[in-house]
């Protein structure tokens, strides 16, 4: 019973990614695409967590943490690129 529930959730979250990918490809502006990428990251983290429950192992939880870190750094870098133009500054004290 619980297995079917988790499987249905996995399918639903996978289907959720389709409109997000549409927004990623079509998205009129750059911030739309960045938020779509971040949402795809969240979906993949949720999928990894559900798959970990489905397989009854805690082996995959580290992957979720790793993906969360990479997604966070990527979104921060994209946002700073949009806001300031350059990602790594030489000297911003002046």
């Amino acid at each position: 019973m619980m297995d079917y529930f988790i499987l249905i959730l996995i399918v639903l979250i996978s289907l959720t990614m389709i409109p997000i990918i549409y927004r990623l490809v079509k998205g009129p502006t750059a911030p739309d695409r960045i938020i779509a990428l971040d949402a795809i990251g969240v979906c993949i983290i949720a999928l990894v967590g559900l798959f970990s429950i489905y397989m009854k192992t805690s082996f995959y939880v580290e992957i979720a943490l790793l993906l969360a870190i990479l997604s966070f750094i990527g979104t921060t870098a994209f946002s700073k690129f949009l806001e300031k133009g350059d990602i790594i500054e030489r000297d911003n004290s002046n």
Binding site: E62, I69, E89
Partner: protein, 140 residues
Amino acid sequence: MKLNNVILKTTTQVVFFMIFLFSIHIFFAGHFSPGGGFVGGLLTASALVLLLLTYDLKTVQQLLPINYTTMTAIGLLLSLGTAATSAFLGDAFFKHYFDHFTLPLFGDTELHTAMLFDLGVYLVVVGVTMIIIQSIGGDE
């Protein structure tokens, strides 16, 4: 124009240490489970990249005065030295030794020479990644 990124700076001060500790965990997990020197090195490099994103090249260089070229050289020396030691001792190249030791805090611990090789890989990966990112990101 000077912006004071309060949210980004406060988040980085916490998240940097979380990523760094997780990279050390991944590094030590690498013998019997997924992980190892390469992934740990990449995670440490991404923590340093987060620091570079929040502050700038000059501040990070003052904060962590590390010469990444020397770091890469030490890592290569450690890896090749660990690999070559067994050849000088009469065994095959890259043979790895392990034994059980009783340490005061950990109890019965299995120590491998493969971990020294992994430490070299870790240092090389962090050094090379940071050299590439600093030389690309420092361009005007």
